[in-house]
Point group: C2
Chain length 126, copies 2
Amino acid sequence: MSRKGDRRERELTNLLDGEGFVVMRAPASGAATARELPDILAGNGDSFYAIEAKSRDTNRFYIDGVEIEALFYFAMMFGAKPRIGVRFDNENWKIIHPSKLYVTRSGNYRIDKEFILSEGETIDEL
Amino acid sequence: MSRKGDRRERELTNLLDGEGFVVMRAPASGAATARELPDILAGNGDSFYAIEAKSRDTNRFYIDGVEIEALFYFAMMFGAKPRIGVRFDNENWKIIHPSKLYVTRSGNYRIDKEFILSEGETIDEL
């Protein structure tokens, strides 16, 4: 992860913490098993989320279908709700369920700024 | 954590993985929030555990009550089952619910080898 990506992820962690969630970030390495882990787990006794965190300075990008499948798999195994956290430059974090995203013919998930800002939830709406 | 403690924890991670669990270890640092996190989360779609892992070469030791309270709190927030994983030298990992342990008058939890070997579950019994 880039330094900026790491800073953004800590930002999301702190925001969730501020909303009363207990947060656990995936270790940067040393997970000891080959499986892809979500970036953040957050629970408040009521809801429990597995979150892939993405920050970008572009208005549109794509997430590999394999990464989303891994998120769904992990969430199912942990009994968590799968979510994508998206942070565009100069915007707030938005949280969205992957199934709301447009999927390309090649199976990748499209993250479109306008769509995310209108359809995503803010942290305090979780 | 000591190098041996880290090796033991990876051992437990791999054992759980081998039994079909998806496992996430707490980051060694950089959790970004002050709260104490459990060492290992493990889920198989059926059960989801938050585990404090302890390895010792002595026959008896104590876990601080505060650490167990943090485990209960975290487990509640994540919807996980709280467990202690114990690995004595030359023995297999045993998993036990903290509430089965003897609590001292000062509020600490006693880990007694004989008791753990007889009352703890093996990984494949989880």
